[in-house]
């Protein structure tokens, strides 16, 4: 391990061992994977996307495009595409390189590099078209396998993730000098503050610079002091390892906090990540700036890296990136890096400066150190295979000189990070003199400060930070501040003609690719991006966008701002899906609603079916019974004896107030004026367009009070629909709506012996047909608690529906069951309920109707009050297509073969022998085996169905054609004698 003992502000003392590609290495506590590998002399860390070129770390932070590795703890905890420059090492960390086979050093995929002259931008659009069939089987699988980086995990993620909403006066994104100062000033004024930084430690650039002095302290010391001060303030929350990934409407920013990825053995109850959704009064963006690389042939060999990164490796981690380090720059900061490296004993054979004019003082400094500077030069070639070995430099007329190096550091200048500012919908503004985009004014309450605002001098940064929160910066004495201004964008030398000068490393986009795109007519930067994939890799163009833009602008002979930037989108850096999901998985994915009787059903062997958010008892198989057998038995028992059924999920709405009946008249197609208290009625609700929206039985409890029921799934939307009309169309009506779905447990008792079952439990009403006739309701007592007892039937048998307050639901159910069971009655589920009602031709909204069926179509014309001047849907029903002949109407179907049960959804035709496409008359909506009738029954929506009674039609299935006869839809007890028993 090579380390510079005096450097390494982030390093602890503990030695840590980890593996990379199976080999064990040692690093020091505080190291990133990249710094530790480089300390071990390992620069080769990955392979590029398309050409499989060998790559090392270019950067030292989140912008890294190359050094992506797979990090894993166990077979389930595998994380592909981890940036080695961000991943902190921990004891036992295991990392592997990606996108190579069989090994990183020898990768057969690298043949793509040999073929690269053909595999230029967009080559696949031009080829692989013939033979047409080969795409799916030959070309595409080949392309797919070649592409992609790491491997997706193959096991369920055992880790969990947390979510938290937070509010504060000021949120600061980025904890460099700008962010820390802004946070301090905001906190000093009594604001609640959240500050985050994506790094393990706050301080930003300060941690990478050892020369700088603030009030006599090193940058790292100053930052530590600030952090200590802020941490002591109760109003401030400091979030390290936390990335501001997105800026959303009205000052909502999303933060991802990484909690365990740096820990060797995380406590099992710790979430791996926590997502913060912060709504702030003001957002201070202090993201800093990102260094650009130089675009020249061979700029991707391991050992070539950003000057700032080299400085970071040195000063945060004590790692010199080489022994003999070349410099290629268009910006002064690379000199500072070079001098820094020189100071710790690295050799700096040459500084190649792309500029022809360089600050004299800096040149003097270089001269004093004996470092040769070549002005107006460029690197035309590099040598080396898996690591840089030398550079060829051209300058002036045509002199070419070579240097041996084992590393090359470069800087084309600093790009202010406009990501979050742009996401807040500020338009970037071009600064012509400095050649950079600056954040524009945001329509939201946010402000950019420091490096991301193009602010250079630390003194200005502090002043700006203070101002951004309306505070005052303390006076600081700042020494040895290096300017980050200056630089260039675009290709250097003749890299548009020769060699591979990478603009976008990960996606292998070269300067020539950009030129090709422009040549092919891609004149919008958005086309250039999509044609070349520049900026579309996992680093989202943090390094490449400005270069790509500059090259295109130059070729188009247009000023840069006219060509324009591509859109900055969230997330700032790739963000774990699990983090977005947070708690919302497993049992918390969606509430699972259960009725008060659910547990009894479960204890008694019910199978359940999901219906909207509810679990409903589907059928109650006895030992050895199939579903079919169970349902058959349940149906039979109800018809012969009785059955009890949990109907608690039905929506219930209390409609109360002096205008309740008038309101019901508007909302339902039926008339409600004549209904007497104590009576109940089946109601149909339409929307304005005249199609059936919902249905249910409505009981009139008093002149001014209705107990309305809705379908299970329809409950929320029906209430909303009613509220809408009440509040906005008929606000003068005195009616109030209250959801009582969950107030009541509803127990249906159906069958010839229903009365006998419940009779002893009921007090306050006589159950005989005179006092409680079919379609009536009574408020009484059942098992000693208040109840609403309906005499209604959805089975065609004598039936009651008991409503009792939910906390008594199970007890009452058990009491009923205690009475029912000895009589040979059964419990039945939704499936039997469906069969029983189908035998009676009762519709189920959503099954026998979809959103295109009118009450007329469903054979429910009788439920439409002709005399009412208005109801919702009345006008809609008069539209030409809704009154036309030949609409699909709901009829019954009987198969000629009584044993044949049609499939729901099967289509019906008149002539089964016609060619495809066939003329379909309609389809089967409900279909069952009716044990009672010993015949299959079905309902169907069929064109002009009411006029087709007795007609033979056909259901063409894949392997047979089934003959059916159109019938009425009431199969059982057509006169309805049973219910009136």
């Amino acid at each position: 391990m090579t380390r510079i003992p005096a450097r390494g502000s982030r390093l602890g003392t503990k030695t840590i061992s980890f593996t990379f590609d199976g080999k064990t290495y040692e690093g020091i506590e505080g190291d990133t994977l990249a710094s530790a590998l480089i300390a071990n002399g390992v620069h080769l860390m990955g392979r590029s996307f398309k050409y499989h070129r060998p790559r090392g770390a270019i950067a030292a932070g989140a912008e890294e495009p190359n050094a992506l590795v797979n990090v894993f703890r166990d077979s389930a905890r595998r994380q592909p595409n981890v940036r080695a420059t961000v991943q902190e090492i921990y004891d036992g960390l295991k990392a592997e390189s990606q996108n190579r086979f069989p090994s990183l050093a020898f990768d057969v995929g690298a043949v793509n590099n040999l073929m690269s002259p053909a595999l230029v931008a967009g080559f696949y659009y031009k080829t692989f078209k013939w033979p047409a069939k080969a795409w799916d089987h030959v070309y595409e699988p080949f392309i797919r396998r070649a592409a992609g980086l790491g491997e997706a995990p193959t096991e369920e993620d055992p880790d969990h993730y947390a979510n938290r909403y937070a509010h504060c006066d000021v949120v600061v994104i980025g904890g460099g000098p700008a962010g820390l100062m802004a946070a301090k000033c905001a906190a000093d004024k009594g604001n609640s503050v959240i500050v985050c930084d994506e790094n393990a430690a706050f301080g930003g650039w300060l941690l990478s610079d050892t020369d700088l002095r603030v009030d006599g302290m090193s940058g790292a010391e100053w930052a530590a002091a600030m952090v200590a001060e802020l941490q002591a303030n109760d109003n401030v929350r400091m979030l390290n390892r936390t990335t501001g990934f997105g800026y959303f409407q009205q000052n909502m920013v999303g933060l991802t906090e990484r909690i365990t990825d740096h820990v060797s053995r995380p406590a099992p109850d710790l979430p791996r990540e926590r997502m913060w959704q912060v709504r702030a009064g003001r957002v201070i963006i202090a993201q800093g700036a990102i260094e650009r690389h130089m675009v020249f042939p061979g700029n991707d060999l391991p050992g070539v890296m950003l000057a700032g990164a080299a400085q970071t490796f040195l000063n945060k981690f004590g790692v010199p990136v080489g022994e003999r380090i070349g410099v290629y720059t268009a910006c002064d900061t690379a000199y500072a890096a070079a001098f820094d490296l020189y100071e710790v004993g690295c050799e700096i054979p040459v500084i190649v400066d792309h500029r022809t004019e360089v600050d004299a003082q800096i040149l003097k400094q270089a001269e004093d150190l004996g470092i040769e500077v070549i002005k107006g030069g460029h690197i035309s070639e590099v040598t080396g295979r898996l690591r840089i070995g030398g550079i060829v430099v051209k300058s002036g007329a045509d002199t070419e000189r070579e240097w041996d190096v084992d590393a090359l550091i470069m800087s084309a200048g600093w790009t202010p990070s406009l990501h979050l500012s742009s996401q807040s919908r500020a338009k970037p503004v071009w600064d012509e003199t400095r050649g950079i985009f600056l954040p524009g004014e945001s329509p939201q309450a946010c402000i950019c400060i420091g490096g991301c605002n193009g602010t250079d001098e630390l003194a200005d940064v502090f002043a700006q930070a203070a101002e951004s929160v309306g505070g005052k910066a303390p006076k600081c004495k700042i020494e040895d501040d290096v300017s980050t201004s200056g630089g260039m964008s675009g290709a250097t030398g003749d890299s548009l003609q020769k060699g591979k000068a990478f603009v976008d490393y990960q996606n292998d986009v070269t300067a020539k690719d950009i030129a090709l795109a422009v040549r092919e007519g891609m004149h919008s930067i958005e086309h250039v991006k999509r044609y070349t994939t520049n900026g579309m890799a996992t680093d989202q163009g943090k390094l490449s966008n400005m270069h790509g833009l500059a090259i295109a602008a130059d070729l188009l002979d247009k000023p840069i701002p006219q060509v324009g930037l591509t859109t900055f989108r969230a997330p700032y850096t790739p963000t774990t899906f699990g983090g977005f999901v947070g708690h919302t998985k497993g049992s918390l994915f969606d509430p699972r609603r259960k009725t008060p009787i659910h547990d009894w059903a479960a204890e008694n062997g019910a199978e359940f079916e999901p219906v909207s958010l509810w679990d409903r008892a589907w059928y109650f198989p006895r030992r050895g019974e199939t579903m079919h057998e169970a349902v058959d038995r349940e149906c039979r028992t109800v018809r012969e004896t009785a059955g009890i059924f949990d109907a608690s999920t039905l929506g219930k709405i209390e409609v109360a107030g002096p205008d309740a009946a008038a309101f019901m008249n508007i909302m339902y197609t039926n008339g409600w004026d004549k209904l007497k208290p104590g009576r109940a009625k089946y109601g149909i609700m339409c929307r304005e367009d005249g199609f059936i929206y919902d249905d249910g039985v409505v009981g009139k409890l008093a002149a001014d009070r209705f107990h309305v029921t809705t379908t299970t799934g329809g409950a929320p939307r029906v209430l909303n629909h009613m509220e809408d009309y009440l509040q906005t169309e008929f606000p003068h009506m005195r009616v109030w709506l209250t959801s009582t779905t969950e107030q009541w447990a509803t127990i249906a008792v159906q069958g010839p012996r229903a009365r006998e079952i419940i009779k002893p439990l009921v007090k306050g009403v006589n159950l005989n047909s005179e006092s409680l006739s079919h379609m009536s309701v009574s408020e009484c007592e059942i098992c000693g608690v208040p109840a609403r007892l309906f005499r209604i039937s959805f089975t065609g048998e004598l039936g009651f529906e008991i409503n009792v307050a939910a906390d008594y639901g199970r007890s009452v159910w058990e009491a009923v069951w205690a009475r029912a069971e000895p009589l040979g009655a059964c419990v039945y589920g939704t499936e039997a309920m469906h069969v029983l009602r189908a035998e009676k031709g009762f519709i189920i909204v959503g099954q026998d109707t979809d959103g295109t069926v009118t009450p007329h179509d469903a054979g429910l014309s009788w439920a439409i009050a002709k005399s009412k001047p208005d109801f919702v849907g009345k006008r809609g029903l008069q539209r030409p297509d809704l009154v036309k002949a030949g609409r699909r109407q709901l009829v019954g179907l009987k198969t000629s073969d009584p044993k044949k049960v049609l499939q729901e959804g099967a289509q019906i035709v008149a002539n089964p022998d016609q060619p495809i496409p066939m003329d379909m008359l309609g389809f089967v909506t409900s279909s069952y085996w009716s044990g009672t009738l010993k015949h299959s029954i079905a309902m169907a929506l069929i064109e002009g169905g009411f006029d087709r009674m007795g007609e033979k039609l056909y259901v063409p299935m894949e392997d047979e054609t089934i003959e059916v006869e159109v019938t009425g839809s009431v199969f059982y007890d057509p006169n309805g004698d049973k219910v009136n028993d």
Binding site: Q79, P80, F123, Y125, K126, K129, W130, A132, W135, E140, I143, R144, R145, A147, G148, L149, P153, D157, F248, M252, G254, Q497, K512, L516, R519, G521, M522, H523, S524, H527, R530, Y531, T538, Q540, R569, P571, T575, T576, F577, G578, F580, V581, K585, F589, D590, P610, V611, Q847, D850, T852, R879, P880, D881, Q903, G905, Q907, V909, P917, M920, P956
Partner: protein, 417 residues
């Protein structure tokens, strides 16, 4: 136009790709055209192409306010299928599917139409009934669509979670094997290149700001940010912006525009072989040839023309994805974006003449019109050239909102994409 094939590619490789010409021209607008198409998305460019190719009309301008293909064509999740329920829809989308199958060859541009299969999951009894209704109707309409058990679904798509313990267990799936994906940008580029070669003027950075009409009401051309341009016929193919454009001609539309988001993960090696959609759990996913998981999210609930959307919409989407594919929990979101989709009351498109003579509109594709690109363009070109709808799009007229003859795929199945 230089041919695109292995030979030209090989030749150019030797010459450093110096000989490739522009794929399309960037002409100045002329004063007058026979037909103006507003909107250079896939549908608009395709319309121009078919007008030129099948109807001999080449004096056409396609006007685009931004860059061609930059609308929803450039931001969709590229799901292609044709297993729609109603005859009208099956007719239209299947027409399209047939054109997709030969589009790369026809355009001499590899649009990477990949028939890897589209599977739609059913999670409750109602879903099953609805999906089977589709399967049966499709079979009789000649559209491939088959029913799979959960086990078969898992075989077709190994990452799928078919455990019974999840909140909404998979109860089966409808599979259209001929469905799949295509490279969205290439569709716009391929049409643009061919249309341009046939003489169509594609004019980018040219926003239409007005629609001009003669005193008797007929269309005479458009106002644009690059001046007045005359035309006898104008076809509006502007997706999310249709209401804005039609308003310029005094036609109010049954449309609302919503932001719809999508996202991609970081690229990984092939791990997801097909396209899977779930309406009940609201998750749409496939993997692109580059390796990203491409995931469709939902719309925000309000009208908006901002091509962004809310964080909670993304969360809901990923909640659903992880419910169905728990193995993707550690995957990372690389980028998210939004488009503006124009939605009709019956969730079916409008391909229609309008009350204004010479004005035609192709819109209302909502969250699912990419798949229809070739078919829609093809019949819309017919509608403009003949001044009457093709029989395939006759039902998709504007009149239906007056008569009530809706083509309500949504009401029938709550399926959109």
């Amino acid at each position: 136009m230089k041919k695109f094939n292995v030979f030209s590619l090989a030749r150019e490789t030797l010459r450093g790709h110096k000989g490739w010409g522009k794929q399309w021209d960037n002409p100045e607008p002329k004063k007058q055209y026979d037909v103006i198409i507003v909107g250079a998305g896939g549908h608009g460019l395709g319309t121009a192409y078919y007008l030129a190719k099948e109807h001999g009309i080449t004096n056409i301008a396609v006007l685009e306010k931004g860059w061609l293909g930059g609308g929803n064509t450039g931001r969709n999740t590229t799901i292609i299928r044709s297993n729609y329920l109603y005859d009208e829809s099956a007719g239209l989308y299947n027409h399209s599917l047939k054109l997709w199958e030969t589009l790369s060859q026809e355009l001499d541009y590899n649009v990477m139409f990949s028939q890897r299969g589209v599977m739609m999951l059913a999670h409750n009894v109602h879903d099953v009934q609805s999906a089977q209704r589709h399967v049966h109707a499709n079979r009789l309409n000649g559209v491939d669509n088959q029913w799979l058990t959960p086990q078969q679904a898992k075989e077709f798509c190994p990452p799928l979670n078919i455990s019974k313990d999840i909140r909404y267990p998979v109860m089966g799936a409808a599979l259209q094997k001929k469905g799949g994906t295509a490279r969205h940008d290439a569709v716009a580029w391929g049409y643009a290149r061919k249309a341009s070669a046939m003489g169509v003027d594609i004019i980018q950075n040219c926003e239409v700001t007005g629609i001009n009409r003669s005193p008797d009401g007929k269309v005479t051309g458009v106002e644009t940010t690059r001046g007045t341009i005359g035309a006898k016929q104008v076809g509006v193919v502007a997706a999310g912006h249709t209401s804005v454009l039609m308003e310029m001609a005094g036609v109010r539309m049954p449309l609302e525009s919503y932001p719809l988001q999508a996202l991609v993960s970081e690229p990984v090696k092939p791990c997801f072989p097909c396209v899977v959609m779930s309406n009940a759990v609201h998750a749409y996913i496939s993997q692109s040839d580059k390796g990203e998981l491409v995931i469709g999210a939902g719309t925000d609930s309000y009208v908006s023309y901002s091509q962004t959307g809310s964080l909670h919409i993304l969360q809901h989407t990923l909640d659903a994805i992880i419910e169905l594919y728990p193995i993707f929990s550690r995957m990372k979101m690389l980028r998210t974006w939004g488009g503006i989709v124009d939605v009709t009351p019956d969730r079916s498109p409008i391909l229609s003449k309008t009350p204004v003579q010479g004005l035609y509109v192709n819109c209302g594709w909502g969250t699912g019109g990419f798949k229809a690109t070739p078919g829609s363009a093809n019949v819309f070109a017919h509608t403009i050239a003949r001044d009457e709808p093709h029989k395939i799009n006759a039902g998709f007229n504007l009149d239906r909102f007056k008569t009530g003859r809706l083509i309500d795929e949504a009401a029938a199945a709550a399926v959109a994409h």
